[in-house]
Symmetry: C2
Subunit: 359 residues, 2 copies
């Protein structure tokens, strides 16, 4: 759900990419992004593409050809990071876990100490599984090994604490259409001073000109033409961030947590079990297991057709095994939880009755 004010913002008259008003909007976006990322990084700006463009920005600038890139793989998007890093010519090493599990501090440390990579990547909030991966141990071990850490924060930004600086993340990126509740099209990104220094020492140019962070900094900081930024999308993100500022970050996080807990409790009362262990669950993306013998696609279709509620299915190893229920940004409300639970209870009962009838 996108707030009406965000839609209105997108219909404001556009200005040129070197117009002082454009830079004013960009500067305000940068300030607000620093707050939601939890960082003081000067290099914090909106990449002109969707979330995957943010991922490619991180990988293309920092996973250099021939260098070792260690990836924590426990879901769909960490696989995507591996694929992008391979395309950059990096030497990818993986530590794997079943989808929905997370890596312990000891596992993280052992992997990094053993591999001694130049760059480490993990997904903080994995949309495909509903799991939250803590990053402190990863970042500490990486820094001990003189490696940089990329964290995918596509699903967390604006809905839960990302804590870039406190965690020690060097490069983080996100998107506009999840926790920020805007349409897709912008990928906010941030880079630590340590990573920026490393980037300055690159000997080969970044293969992507469009996503070259040094060139982008020339525009965002130096106001030197690089590409024509998507100004209407910047207006949207600007307004989305203003809504977050008005609600208050702590209040917003508390709302997401409260509605998540309410949902989990109600799901458990319906007899469903959560796929991700308590303590590692995302607040904005919930993954109850599909009850034994239930066809998840039929339930989802019933929810959509009869109640107008769209929830997602699992995919990859979790296909048919979990529902994926988003409660993010302006969609994370007590009312939505109640509507969904009521509808889900009826849809499950109807499916179950039909299953019995068919037997």
């Amino acid at each position: 759900m996108v707030a009406p004010r965000v839609y209105e913002a997108m219909s404001k008259p556009i200005v040129g990419y070197l117009d002082p008003y454009c830079f004013q909007v960009i500067e305000e976006i940068q300030d607000e992004l620093r707050k939601v990322f939890g960082t003081r990084n000067e290099i914090t700006f909106p990449i002109s593409g969707t979330g995957s463009a943010g991922m490619e920005t991180a990988v293309a600038n920092f996973a250099e050809p021939g260098e070792k890139c260690a990836v924590f793989v426990n879901g769909f998007f960490s696989e995507r990071i591996c694929e992008m890093a391979r395309r950059q010519g990096a030497q990818v090493v993986r530590l794997e876990k079943p989808w929905g599990e997370v890596f312990s501090d000891a596992e993280a440390r052992e992997f990094i100490h053993r591999e001694k990579p130049r760059i480490v990547a993990y997904v903080q909030a994995e949309t495909s599984t509903g799991a939250f991966q803590p990053g402190n141990a990863i970042c500490q071990a990486a820094h001990d090994a003189d490696a940089l850490v990329i964290a995918d924060c596509v699903t967390s930004l604006g809905a839960a604490p990302v804590e870039v600086d406190a965690t020690g993340i060097d490069i983080a990126y996100s998107c506009s259409q999840k926790g920020l509740s805007c349409p897709p099209g912008i990928s906010p990104a941030t880079v630590s001073p340590r990573a920026w220094e490393r980037l300055g020492k690159r000997t080969r140019p970044v293969q992507s000109w469009y996503l070259d962070l040094k060139l982008l900094e020339g525009y965002y900081k130096g106001h030197k033409y690089h590409h024509t930024v998507p100004i209407s999308m910047l207006y949207a993100v600007h307004e989305g961030l203003a809504l977050i500022e008005e609600e208050g970050l702590e209040q917003r996080f508390a709302r997401h947590r409260r509605n998540h807990l309410m949902l989990v409790s109600a799901l458990e009362k319906l007899g469903l079990r959560m796929h991700v262990d308590e303590g590692h669950r995302l607040w904005m993306l919930n993954t109850p297991r599909v009850p034994e013998g239930v066809d998840d696609a039929k339930v989802r279709k019933r929810l959509l057709d009869e109640y107008g509620i769209e929830i997602l299915g699992g995919f990859g190893p979790l296909a048919g095994k979990v529902f994926r229920i988003g409660l993010m940004g302006s969609s994370s409300t007590e009312e939505n939880v109640k509507l969904l639970i009521d509808a889900l209870e009826k849809a499950l009962a109807a499916e179950s009755a039909q299953g019995v009838a068919e037997k």
Copy 2:
């Protein structure tokens, strides 16, 4: 200038990237894009980034590492193509001309026959100079040499005939904010069957995952998730293309040509000379020379401050030497030409009077 209907379109409720309505919008965009590109290419779709992302898509997919890439360099954006091709590891060879001139058929043939490149690139409509580069001879010579041709159509699409098929262009890309009169954020692109076949023979993966045409085709044609497309920007382009359909392509091109000729005639009456020779001038971007002894920045500032009209200056080798006057999309009107000429006449007179007074 963006039409009110385009702004309205952007505030329509967003749908998911796999929603049937999203694909309906995309298919209608594809149909309309084929008309404005002048092509029957099946591979014709909106890239999720601004014009430079379209350029990078063309270069990253087709200028392979180690292969020879021949670029016709006569302005700012052909330099950018060279830079992107170098970053892809291609062997770049250049044929240069002063900014504002174009390459003759004989020069084009001689260059391509001598260099025997795998890929050739030129800028059809060069925003930095106001020159239109014909492509027939380039494409014919390139195809004789078994090379593919990339044409930058950023400034021409929707304002003048691009004629992809009739010219023989293999890969063309554009933007949303010029001839299509939408906000920036989308880069329409098209690929010939010949180029698509070549792409299928690539042995190394394209370095960019985000701009990998094979993966993008999997989404646009196969409806398989790749990245989350910027749906609000697609709504904008969809509406912008509907406006073009309503006006009629031929009528639209005639309007641009008529207003261009009216502007040139009026500029010449003011005593200004056009930088680009007759017959090679763009209709949507006009570059009269700055009269001897006139400070172009002062004139432009006066136009902006006193008349609310923004025209651009030259840059690179043309800094201080030309004005750049855009007349594109919904801004190409007789009224705008009259307003500008009236204001420019007064601004030039005021500058001239002040110049005399200072002496």
